[in-house]
Point group: C2
Chain length 528, copies 2
């Protein structure tokens, strides 16, 4: 039996383009002799639709699109993810089509409460996690999503000839083997071969990584589709590669995820051009590389906006980088505007000394210049802040926090360095001096990040433990033997600066818990 | 039997202050002869805690606080809202204390999926919606929240001597009678008197309005606690007022809700001082009045930031208003900075003509000046944008969209006018010319809102239908007989500008669906 796994990139609600994509894949599959064509979860409407699911016209459009597919499904079993209404309930389902007829649905049982989307707010739980269908004399089970519950249910089930899984799994850094283990459990417990079709593509802050899978009945991975791009993977149950595919490289994956996230955020909105501030620091250097690989170097403009506090070396580094990357760059000193702002504000400052006000002013002038050029030229601004900064509020609201999309907002400073090293693996794309210099915001004389922050190695560990792993301050203190006072200071900052992050651009999500959608902390609350 | 309804204002996670408040209310109740003291839903931890509920240390702190209350509960039945863990589940419960002992819990069954908070993401469903307890020879039912399901369940139940309800219901404009009807159904269907304790106070964008209730067994309202402030209401089952309390005034309630929302947003964060831009328009005038009533006139500073496009009348109106309200005001022309910005950017604009870039620049200079003074003086910026503008993106990101809290972000332009009239009910607090002038952003010569927007009366209806009532474009077109083209144009704008609102300040919520938390639309999606 041959199964075509159609790992495709859909745009939410874009039926006009999603439907022909689906139909072409079915036709291609039939031509190549596939007896089953499998699509990903929510393929028909793209994922994740969020509140569009509350709109009747959205649901009508989905149901209407079903009819368009049916005529193309003669002589083939097609399994495609779609929301559906059933007796006052909304279900996240796999639609099963045989011989041009919808023969039924398999409804998702294990719904997410957290992460990139809260399915439980939109969908009702399906009755059964796994349902079984007959096709060409075989017993074929169908299930949705990645959940331990499916493995347990597979344990109790009878042996199937094949399990089909539809998923829309967001990329998570270094979590490929965890996902593999969950799917392995399903195959192993039911002693059935398992074919998984995962979504691919970026939607807002979410990045679906693809990597659709075929596991044999012993749970061994036999085939793996491409990561971060569309792929049509043909699985032949009676003849498949004996060698397991190689595991992906974590850093390469992270880089590719961010590239895909940027590209789809732009292209799915019909935006081509990006602008970013290039400071000579590592964050903006890495974002520039990602932007070029996502959009093409002719579409990326860098703005160098030095002040009196910028070191000569930083400006030089930024210039060398821009030239080396062959992107357009412009130099625009903020000094005249900054000086005028200070003069205008002087009567109101009552002779008080330089503080965060003046630092924020510089960052905000830069934000304003970036936005002005973006408005005039029709570009989107790329935000270059990283997760470590966002965590402790080491950033200026309406200043360096401007932008349409935050490229590194879920990437810790430590990981930004590792990304830079990976970018430079075959040659010095990013000048070495950018990697080796002491990080600084350069908003006052002789400033470095270490004046206000602990070592990034320490900060990153605490942020990961607190934000991603939900450990309590006490647990973090005892786990890493950090001084309790230092841990508390950082956690207090993370809590306090929720108000800044509430107004941050969407951050591309690459860890299990980032800031923004999926992490809802109150702004106003008392420490306990 | 006497029941003390302790309608109190709690801060999320602030056990240090919430607990003494609870204990003082119990003691007061006992002194006054209460046999039952009833608190609101989630009283112990304050509401809504969102992701704090995922933290083990938060749950430990809650459980620890239980022990503090018990010694004060001799000779009295105390019913208090608290989250609780039970066998791998998290429940939203009423803790029942009798004679200093926890005798059990009543768990909330009907959990919200939308609105100000998605309970279903945090809590498991309780087994029964209503549970029954014995006290002083009476059968006392306990339930949580406001839900049709409770009324249906009450139908099937045996008659109780009393029903106690714990709620944390956010304020909704003009929805008092709807709430009353839901509670009436519970009392009526079970032929039992019903005592409701609702939370009061602001938390982030949520405003809990109080108005705790006592309904007799015929469902008639006999007592109603204050709205928008703490209240200790004693209910005597054998002797209560025969006259129903009067219904609240909708406009007065809306105004009080916004005042409470601002006050608690500031004071619960230990902020006292506010700053806002005063344009001479109606939005900032209304926000100034709200700020004064929330914080005191000595705590509010107004900044007048005219440009070459500001009419003389606007500046005059703003000055008259500020003087009449007796708040500090400062005049700071943006012209020099705007001119310098244009000069600096000139080489990059390639002789292109004046467009939204220049308009945005002016708004962003104002935002930057407000933020600079706020930073230097230790104030929070009040955002003055209204819901009509936010809907169609008639506002500038990082410009007039700056601020710690959006006071009118869930109030339509039409309602802003009605609020202004209400503010002026006993005299012209807001100069009449501000109410009567044509609305204009004054970002270019002769500009009025009508150049870019339909009449506000039409816009507001479409926004309400689409955003609050979830009607489809077709339904709106046929409901109001508006031209389909006009409806589609507005809806397209609402959809398109999601990216701006994603970076807006939290908007105080006063309708059933506003922007921000509780409305999650994708940014990137295709129209269908």
């Amino acid at each position: 039996m041959k199964i075509l796994v159609a790992q495709l990139n859909f745009k939410v609600g874009d039926f006009e383009n999603n439907l022909p994509k689906i139909i072409r894949a079915i036709q291609w599959g039939k031509e190549k002799g596939a007896e089953i064509v499998l699509f990903s979860e929510l393929a028909l409407c793209g994922g994740f639709p969020h509140d569009l699911l509350l709109r009747r016209d959205f649901i009508f459009a989905i149901e209407h699109s079903w009819k368009e597919i049916l005529p193309h499904c003669l002589d083939v079993m097609v399994v495609v993810g779609t929301p559906r209404r059933h007796a006052n309930e909304m279900l996240n389902s796999a639609m099963i089509i045989q011989e041009g007829t919808i023969i039924g649905f398999s409804d998702k049982k294990f719904l997410s409460r957290e992460g990139d989307f809260q399915e439980i707010c939109y969908f009702n739980e399906g009755q059964r996690g796994i349902s079984c269908w007959q096709w060409k004399g075989k017993k074929i089970a169908v299930c949705l999503g990645e959940n331990r519950g499916l493995g347990e249910q597979a344990c109790q089930g009878s042996r199937w000839d094949l399990i089909l899984n539809l998923s829309i799994l967001p990329y998570r850094y270094d979590a490929f083997s965890l996902r593999m283990a969950l799917f392995k459990a399903i195959a192993l417990h039911s002693s059935s071969p398992l074919v998984v079709c995962n979504a691919v593509g970026g939607n807002d802050h979410s990045i679906f990584d693809g990597y659709s899978l075929f596991l044999d009945q012993e749970g061994k991975c036999r085939q793996c589709a491409s990561g971060f791009q569309e792929d049509l993977m043909m699985v032949n149950l009676s003849s498949f590669p004996q060698q397991a595919p190689s595991e992906p490289n974590s850093l390469e994956d992270l880089y590719n995820a961010l590239v895909l996230g940027v590209r789809d955020y732009f292209h799915k909105q019909n935006f081509g051009k990006a602008i970013l501030g290039l400071s000579g620091g590592i964050d903006s250097a890495v974002v520039a590389c990602i932007a070029i690989d996502a959009l093409g170097k002719n579409e990326v403009t860098a703005l160098l906006m030095p002040s009196e506090y910028s070191s000569k070396k930083s400006v030089e580094d930024a210039q060398v980088l821009a030239s080396r990357l062959e992107i357009r760059w412009e130099l625009l000193s903020i000094t005249p505007i900054y000086q005028l702002m200070l003069k205008v504000l002087f009567p109101f400052f009552h002779g008080s000394s330089f503080d965060h006000t003046e630092e924020n002013l510089q960052a905000r002038i830069r934000g304003m210049l970036l936005m002005a050029l973006a408005n005039k030229w029709g570009c989107l601004v790329l935000n270059t802040g990283n997760k470590s900064e966002a965590s402790v509020g080491y950033c200026t609201l309406y200043g360096d926090m401007v932008g349409g999309i935050g490229v590194l907002g879920d990437v810790s400073k430590g990981m930004v360095y590792r990304l830079a090293e990976w970018i430079n693996r075959d040659g010095e794309r990013i000048p070495l001096s950018i990697l080796t210099k002491e990080p600084s915001a350069e908003l006052k004389w002789g400033q470095t990040d270490r004046d206000s922050l602990p070592e990034y190695a320490v900060l990153d560990l605490i942020v990961k433990s607190y934000v991603e792993d939900l450990l309590s301050p006490e647990e973090i203190t005892s786990l890493y033997s950090f001084p309790n006072e230092e841990v508390m200071k950082i956690i207090h900052r993370i809590d306090h600066f929720e108000y800044k992050r509430r107004q941050a651009p969407p951050y591309l999500r690459v860890t299990k818990r980032g800031f923004g959608t999926g992490r809802t902390y109150p702004i106003v609350w008392g420490s306990f």
